[in-house]
Symmetry: C2
């Protein structure tokens, strides 16, 4: 898909990423560095936790989601530059899960003060191999107008 | 600090984490795996980008924030379990930045249906060594009541 400019986005346009499968080792490696809690690090400790089994850090799910968006999810010209957003994790990401990201454009907002740019609001749902949402995220991203 | 239960949280209570300094190599290592875009990977490419210089992925800033919260930011009994939240990145995180996280409890909400638990709403601002906010995040976290 060629790079997309503000003019190429319309409300309701959808994108689907390729897939990423994660395993227990990826979950633990991320957790050791960024979220060193027993339920992300150790199967036995996780069994008796809130998660009832090893679960990925929500921030790991978020990072994988970003990697899928960057590599395959939405080819914004100039890159994916987020201003922020909101996210929830409706259920845990587990070892062996295969994740894809489905995105839908919710709003396209040209900038009033800067004619060369605008923002899009995008809802990206990260689903596992059973179609269950493991992350539901809405972000605002910077998008450039097509150069004249 | 001893582990904290729902009864220990009150609106306005504040927490400050220890510090984490990041360098260009950490920024690039995270980006290679999770956000492989030129402005997170290469100083020269970043110079001519929106960021005018190498910048960390926002998700890297989020992950470092989580690590600071887990290691030193807020000792919730049973761990930090987030249901979701919203975040913005008011300015980029740069190589050499030293980050700390300042958190403040915005709300304490006992569960109506599950007497053993509740939720707290926490605003966590991640600041660099100049006191500038690089991330402003509000999350809802699960907190247990003190066992009787």
């Amino acid at each position: 898909m060629t790079d997309l400019y503000l003019e190429d986005f319309s409300v309701g346009r959808r994108f689907t990423s390729t897939a990423h499968t994660l395993d227990a080792e990826q979950i633990k490696t991320f957790a050791r560095q960024f979220d060193p809690q027993p339920f992300h690090l150790d199967e036995d400790a996780a069994k008796n936790s809130f998660f009832h089994g090893l679960a990925a850090s929500g921030w790991h799910t978020a990072a994988i989601t970003m990697s899928l968006l960057v590599k395959s999810g939405m080819p914004i010209a100039g890159g994916l530059i987020g201003a922020g957003g909101e996210l929830t994790w409706p259920r845990p990401t587990r070892p062996g899960d295969t994740l894809i990201v489905e995105s839908e454009v919710l709003a396209v907002t040209p900038s009033r003060s800067r004619p060369e740019r605008g923002m899009i609001t995008v809802r990206s749902i990260t689903r596992n191999q059973n179609g269950e949402a493991v992350q539901d995220m809405t972000t605002r991203m910077l998008v450039w107008r097509r150069p004249v």
